[in-house]
Amino acid sequence: MSFLKKPKISHPGLPTNEIGLTIRDYEGAMSTLCAGCGHDSISSAIMQAYYELSIEPHRVAKVSGIGCSSKTPTYFLGGAHGFNSVHGRMPSIATGANAANRELNYIGVSGDGDSLSIGLGQFGHAIRRNINMMYLIENNGVYGLTKGQFSASADRGSTAKKGDANPYSPIDPVLLAISLGCTFVGRGFSGDKEHLVPMIKSAIKHEGFALLDIISPCVTFNDHEGSTKSYAHTRANLRETVYADFTAQHEEIVAQVDPGEFKKITMHDGSRVGFKRVDESYDPTDRISAITYIEEHRSKGEVVTGLLYLEESASEMHSVLGSNKQAMATLPYSKLNPGAETLTRIQARWR
């Protein structure tokens, strides 16, 4: 592989997943982010999720834009191809890649700057097309890589390191995505891996566009007092709604019926997501009430988290287009070439 991998020491004692891989097989190159950066915690949750789902790394394709967050695909799943594209344009790369090969598993990593400013258009249109992919926004309220300018997700009144308050109202990717018809919308916190991993697993298994907005504090530029995206502020203001538990299809038989679960949704491959109530009033399958709930709590300064909206029945891009089940990229040329005789027939119409 063409990058620096962490030295791979085999740990005979490490547990393996169903395809015989250990968690180390899901690692990537050494991270070059700041120590304590939220993005690194998310990478580790991603590795855990793919490991637990026993997905072969090379069947995953990683795409990203530009930013500290967008660098992270190098730091996980070293056995997967990756594409670090241009700023704000990852959704189009993902769409084209998915058009060419629907059989792979797609993970897109972006930042709040990447998705909500320069890339807002592409972000919205990837949702509209319902590309079958997991899309993560590692949301820190700033442009980390260009040294801490406010991003479009920064809350009004949140202060920069030097004290200036942000005068503009924020774009909430979760509300935006739900209103655009996104079929899977969740919000998590990089500091809460326990709830992040099952949500990522559900997002990976969702057929269609799965957005995860993950609050991921930037320790260097946006973790001070006065910032609404700091570790402390996020922890203090989390508003948990429902927790999603992910159960793979084959585990179903042994899984205990959990009395706390109030809703189960079966995914396309037969696995299922079970919802546990945290807030009695929340229903993750009702779009209108979800929007109202999130708006209400946002106006109180709370960060609503959980698997906030899920619709498993909508059609992803290929079923809308009526594409072959087989990947375009692997169709043999014999199936693509109409042949000389056909050409003669076509040209008869041009006389």
Binding site: M1, S2, F3, L4, P57, H58, R59, A61, V63, P73, T74, G78, G79, A80, H81, G82, F83, N84, S85, V86, P91, S92, I93, T95, G96, A97, N98, A99, A100, N101, E103, L104, G121, Q122, G124, H125, R129, H318, L321, G322, S323, N324, K325, A327, M328, A329, T330, Y333, K335, L336, N337, P338, G339, A340, L343, T344, I346, Q347, W350, R351
Partner: protein, 607 residues
């Protein structure tokens, strides 16, 4: 003063956009083609859906010249608004037909033009019921008059109508009625046929009439393209429309009925090219089509594709720029912006088709080159090629063709090797090997636009960076050996002009060929002529230029962009490259070239 012009004249039809003239005019052109007489049709249309003036120019040429001659022999002046200008454009000795329902004796101020008045509106108002038919059938009626005036074969017209309306016979009847009305009026009121007339030939056998966007779209189907994404823009839209339509007809899986193609209308051109890169990275042949403004938007991604070495095919159907310019007029104005599309030291591979035939064949070449070289290939066509009706020899296809997918390691090759490194020059041709996602984790690497070394790893080390970009420069030397060689036309039958030669690209070709022959016949010189087909320039380009004191570089833009490129890339003394430029938005005519070249030669001799 009228001389007989058998099978050799120009009809120009001046209409109002949105009145249904296009199909009548197309039928007129096609009937001439079916009489075996070489013919082409050019559309000069406005950026408008209804109401503005539009023209269709039909050139009939027994000698097979397919460009604009620069003259008009017969004007069908159906647009009152442009009547004066249309009359002024007719060549002395020519004819003008108009709708004499509203007589115009007051402004018929040319006595060297014969005016033919036909009360088309009056006739159609009387004969047809619906308001729509009254408007549409006027067009068909003037075609009917031309059947008599030009001696068009009535059977040919009737058959065409029957074919066109095979599913709506009542429409065929109405059309035939209108044809007969026009025909009868002309026969009764004028001396038919005119000295401008047609007589059947056998010169269109083995030929077809088609536009270049259709053939480019079809070429992409035959090249095995499976993914396209685009954002609508004139004059490129019909290329994607053609691809989609052919795919609907030819690319449904016979067993499952599923599509073996994906057509995605993007939200803008940035996204369109992004999808194309994503798809090519993932192993599909994918392309987009746009025009100048779109290329500007795509240029950031084109830099990434160049640097990260991702194949892509982009058709740029050029139109008059800058900005929105005149979007329905033609130019060759994106040569420099396409050649150096993007920031930094970038260079792109270009192909220059000259007609719809090239559009088909160069599609295949474009995809092969893009994958062989792992870089974008831009096919620089233009509105004249893309949207006008050209007569070309029937396109042939060799069923033994197999796409050149370039250097891609498969699973077995990966298994057998110790390690894979993305950007190594293993073979000494400066083209590295690539791998596709999903095949084997040993082939995994990270595509990035940031600095990378030859192993594919991130770098900010100067020597590692220069190592890669120097190889990319060498890759362009390889590209120069792979692009199609220039086409050099030398005529040894008479003494050759030693000091001067002609050089051009793309759609100037037809006009230059005719101009050359005219100049030969008129004793104005026998000039060698080279048409360049690709960029980076093939080695034969410099060899040709070196033979002459001066080379006239003919192109359709204001700033002599091809000449700029030749000067910079081949280090040629600019004084030896003399520009001859046509940039008014009209396809360049043979007349313009004869006059321009003659004047340049005179100047050269005087100097």
């Amino acid at each position: 003063m009228t001389t007989s012009k058998l099978n050799d004249f120009v009809i120009k039809l001046a209409n109002v956009n949105g009145t249904g003239s296009a199909s009548a005019n197309g039928m007129l052109m096609k009937s001439i083609f079916r009489m075996g007489i070489p013919v082409t049709g050019k559309n000069f249309f406005p950026s408008n859906i209804q109401g503005l003036p539009t023209w269709y120019e039909i050139r009939i040429s027994k000698d097979g010249y397919l460009c604009r001659s620069g003259k008009v022999d017969l004007m069908i002046a159906m647009n009152a608004e442009t009547y004066k200008a249309d009359l002024a454009e007719v060549d002395p000795g020519g004819y003008l037909m108009y709708d004499s329902t509203w007589p115009r004796n007051d402004i018929l101020d040319r006595n060297d033009v014969t005016v033919l008045g036909i009360p088309l509106s009056a006739m159609c108002n009387e004969a047809f019921e619906s308001a729509r038919a009254k408007v549409l059938m006027k067009n068909v009626a003037y075609v009917g008059a031309l059947v008599a005036l030009l001696d068009i074969d009535m059977d040919v017209i009737e058959n065409l109508l029957k074919e066109t309306f095979s599913t709506k016979p009542h429409l065929a009847d109405a059309n035939i009625q209108a044809i007969k009305m026009g025909f009868d009026y002309a026969t009764e009121n004028f001396d038919c046929p005119l000295p401008l007339k047609l007589s059947p030939m056998e010169a269109t056998k083995g030929h077809v009439i088609v536009d270049g966007n259709t053939t480019a779209g079809l070429g992409a189907v035959y090249a095995g393209a499976t993914v396209t994404s685009w954002y609508p823009i004139t004059p490129s839209t019909s290329l994607i429309d053609a691809f989609s339509l052919f795919c609907q007809q030819l690319r449904k899986d016979p067993e499952t009925g599923e599509n073996n193609y994906c057509v995605i209308q993007a939200e803008d051109e940035l996204s369109a090219i992004g999808m194309v890169l994503g798809a090519n990275w993932n192993g599909a042949r994918a392309f987009t089509a746009t025009s100048g403004p779109g290329v500007s938007l795509m240029s950031e991604f084109l830099g990434l594709a160049y640097y990260a070495e991702i194949p892509a095919v982009l058709y740029d159907v050029q139109r008059v720029s800058p900005s929105t310019g005149m979007p329905t007029r033609t130019q060759q104005c994106d040569i420099v912006s396409a050649a150096y599309a993007s920031h930094g030291d970038t260079k792109q591979v270009l192909l220059f088709p000259s007609d719809p035939s090239d559009c088909f064949h160069m599609s295949k070449i474009a995809f092969d080159l893009a994958e062989r070289l792992q870089t974008p290939v831009i096919v620089l066509t233009d509105l004249d090629i893309g949207m006008n009706d050209w007569m070309i020899p029937e396109i042939e296809w060799d069923d033994s063709y197999l796409p050149d997918r370039g250097k891609v390691y498969d699973a077995k090759q990966l298994k057998d090797m110790d390690a894979f490194y993305r950007y190594l020059d293993v073979d000494g041709d400066a083209i590295p090997w690539r791998t596709l996602p999903g095949v084997d984790s040993k082939g995994a690497y990270f595509v990035r636009g940031s600095g990378h070394n030859k192993f594919g790893g991130y770098t900010e080390k100067s020597d590692e960076y220069t190592d890669v970009v120097d190889r990319l420069r060498r890759k362009f030397d390889t590209a120069a050996t792979l692009v199609p060689a220039p086409i050099i036309n030398i005529d040894d039958a008479m003494p050759r002009e030693k000091n001067y030669a002609l050089l051009s690209i793309g759609s100037c070709d037809g006009a230059i060929r005719e101009a050359r022959e005219k100049m030969q016949l008129d004793g104005q010189g026998n000039l060698d002529y080279m048409r360049i087909q690709g960029f980076p320039f093939h080695k034969d380009v410099a060899v040709f230029i070196d033979q002459y004191e001066q080379v006239f570089v003919i192109e359709q833009n204001r700033d002599a962009q091809l000449r700029q490129l030749l000067t910079v890339e081949l280090d040629i003394d600019p004084k030896r490259l003399i520009p001859l430029l046509s940039y008014d938005g009209m396809p360049v005519s043979s007349n313009f070239i004869v006059e321009g070249v003659t004047a340049l030669i005179k100047q050269g001799h005087a100097a």
